[in-house]
């Protein structure tokens, strides 16, 4: 061993970690090497000094502090566990209390749709019987599909209902003849209809959608706007009117939904199972003209918001009918209706319309009457004549008396009557 090797092994030598052979070699070198001997002695003395250091005993604060901290820790843990248990209990109680209420609310929301499906199922046999001789073979497939849907789905979700409506609208759109204008809002097909302006009588125009030959698996909505000064009386009157038309066994199919939307506007919705009922109801609208103090008019329903609470205005005083002015305003502000004004097809109804325009008080009347004429063109001239002549005469009288009525009626309401035909015949 040389000095370097010996000095590297000195610590191990002092600790007794060398093999006997290494130990003998190291000791022989140290005896002969004063430098390495000095190294060994100084290191040995250093180690002895380290070993001679007094040992510290832990002060009692160590155990006390540890004990205290552990106790605090247990207390904190206990508090946390208690807080956790409390929170869990509160959540559980909330769940237990709210869960029945949630289930109840869900049941209520779900029940109407089931009822409606059941009603539609009941109406199916009648529709089948009435429409068995109908020549529209092309309509059978969509009708069949729809009927199966109605029969099979006892409970349909809102999304499924929406899809179903879209399917119906699509089928109706395919069936629509040229010249008819349909508007689809929210998946529902809506047949536009315009009343003769200035008339106090709702238009009894034949609705093509309601024609037996054209009826199909579809939903047809028809909105007729009635302006009235005595709301409650006329609502009850309208309700009783529809109750008369609809047979008792189908009375349950009525859905009278009074929704007060805009101020002074009340929406009445009636669901007809068959087109026959639909026609009867449309005809009965005319009888509303005989209601005293009631300005009854059929109005175009394709534009939502076109009918607003009526108020006395300057147009009324200036000789124009208030309703006419309102319609004129609605027409001029509605791009859809402006676009719907297509060239008028020739026909007997056109001449009648021209006469009516001449007799009426202004240009607005003419503009309003044009869309109706456009729709009547495809429905047959005799019916159109009949439908127009009646409101024409009554409309003149109504216009004359309208100004007086308006003055007396401080607040006027608009009753929007919506007829819905759900025809799902096979």
């Amino acid at each position: 061993m040389n000095c370097g090797e010996v000095r590297d092994k000195l610590s191990e030598y002092l600790d007794g970690d060398l093999t006997p052979l290494e130990r003998r070699e190291l000791e022989s070198h140290i005896h002969s090497c004063p430098s390495c001997s000095w190294e060994l002695s100084t290191i040995k003395r250093t180690v002895q000094m380290l070993n001679s250091l007094p040992r510290f005993s832990a002060p009692p604060q160590v155990a006390q502090g540890v004990r205290r901290e552990l106790a605090i820790g247990r207390l904190i843990l206990a508090k946390r566990l208690f807080a956790l248990a409390t929170a869990a209990a509160v959540i559980l109680m909330i769940f237990v209390v709210l869960f029945p209420a949630l289930r109840e609310g869900e049941r209520e929301r779900f029940a109407p749709s089931v009822e409606k499906i059941a009603q539609e199922k009941e109406a199916l046999p009648e529709i089948r019987a009435e429409k068995s001789a109908a020549p529209e073979m092309a309509l059978k497939e969509p009708q069949k599909a729809l009927s199966e849907e109605l029969l099979n789905k006892e409970a349909v979700s809102e999304a499924q209902k929406q899809e179903m409506k879209l399917t119906r609208a699509e089928a109706a759109r395919n069936l629509a003849k040229p010249g008819e204008s349909f508007s689809s809002e929210g998946g529902r097909l809506r047949k536009s209809q315009v009343s003769p302006a200035g008339g106090g009588q709702p238009t009894q125009s034949p609705d093509k959608v309601a024609q037996p030959g054209l009826s199909a698996a579809k939903v047809v909505e028809k909105e007729i706007v009635l302006s009235t000064s005595d709301l409650e009386r006329d609502i009850s009157k309208i309700a009783s009117l529809f109750a008369e038309v609809l047979p008792r066994d189908t009375a349950s199919k009525q859905e009278i939904d009074r929704k007060a939307g805009e101020r002074g506007t009340v929406m009445l919705v009636f669901v007809c199972a068959t087109e026959e009922q639909y026609h009867q109801l449309v005809d009965k609208i005319g009888s509303l003209g005989a209601v005293p103090d009631t300005d009854v008019r059929a109005k175009h329903t394709g534009v939502a918001g076109a009918c607003k609470p009526e108020a006395p205005d300057k147009d009324m005083e200036s000789g124009k009918g208030a309703k006419v002015a309102e319609e004129e305003k609605a027409k001029s502000g509605s791009p859809e209706l402006q676009a719907a004004k297509s060239p008028t097809p020739p026909g007997a109804g056109e001449k009648k319309e021209e006469k009516q325009v001449e007799q009426s008080s202004g240009e607005a009347h003419k503009r309003v009457s044009e869309p109706r004429e456009e729709r009547f063109a495809g429905a047959g001239a005799p019916e159109v004549e009949k439908a127009i002549s009646k409101p024409q005469k009554q409309g003149e009288a109504a216009v004359e008396t309208q100004a007086e009525e308006k003055k007396s009626a401080a607040v006027r309401y608009i009753v929007r009557v919506k007829l819905v035909v759900v025809d799902a015949k096979k």
């Binding site: 590297d8 000195l10 610590s11 191990e12 600790d15 970690d17 100084t42 290191i43 003395r45 250093t46 180690v47 002895q48 000094m49 380290l50 070993n51 001679s52 250091l53 007094p54 040992r55 510290f56 005993s57 832990a58 002060p59 604060q61 160590v62 155990a63 502090g65 540890v66 004990r67 901290e69 552990l70 820790g73």
Partner: protein, 194 residues
């Protein structure tokens, strides 16, 4: 220190784990002495020792009993002490100032200190110099020197505590001793002259 003191048999370890306070009572002196040699003052040593036992308590679930409790506690103690921030004002010789050395159980007296040496430097001063020299060592060397020459652990146990190979422990120990020898050489020369 005998090996039996360092490595407890399985049954004893299990019983000790069950009763943590017994562990504290059993090992607090050793841990405190080790920590006291690794840090600069008494208050730090007290705090660190408490922290070591609290850490051990929190880690009891992770202790599988495969290692000695003693080794396990030493590992926590060394790591905690070396990572402990020194006090802003390092009071040298704080142990001598704050704690009466007579309170501690003195394992061995300095055997070779002659009466003349005592005249030259008091025993307390020697101890203070030694403590200063230890604290002057780098942490890696300090921990090895303290565990070996103060606590008396063997190479293998030090290797387990510090998670180092035994060869590394030996080399670090030798380097630490040489540095301490150089720092304490004046005391050694005085003794040699006497």
């Amino acid at each position: 220190m005998a090996d039996g003191e360092l490595t407890l048999d399985g049954q004893e370890e299990t019983e000790t784990v069950r009763d943590f306070e017994a562990i504290v009572q059993k090992y607090q002196d050793r841990i405190f002495n080790t920590v006291a040699r690794l840090v600069s003052n008494h208050d730090d040593a007290l705090d660190i020792t408490q922290e070591v036992f609290l850490k051990a308590y929190r880690a009891l679930r992770g202790f599988r009993g495969c290692a000695s409790v003693y080794t396990w506690l030493y590992r926590i103690a060394v790591n905690t002490a070396l990572s402990h921030r020194r006090s802003p004002v390092v009071r040298s010789l704080s142990f001598s100032d704050g704690v009466d050395p007579d309170r501690y159980n003195t394992r061995t007296e300095i055997e070779d200190v002659t009466p003349e040496t005592c005249d030259l430097v008091s025993r307390r001063e020697v101890q203070e110099r030694i403590q200063e020299a230890i604290l002057s060592l780098d942490g890696d060397l300090r921990s090895v020197v303290v565990l070996r020459d103060v606590e008396g652990l063997g190479y293998s146990e030090i290797a387990k505590v510090l998670c180092l190979p035994e060869g590394t422990v030996k080399s670090r120990l030798h380097r630490g001793r040489l540095i301490l020898r150089d720092r304490l050489l004046d005391i050694i020369h005085v003794e040699e002259k006497k």
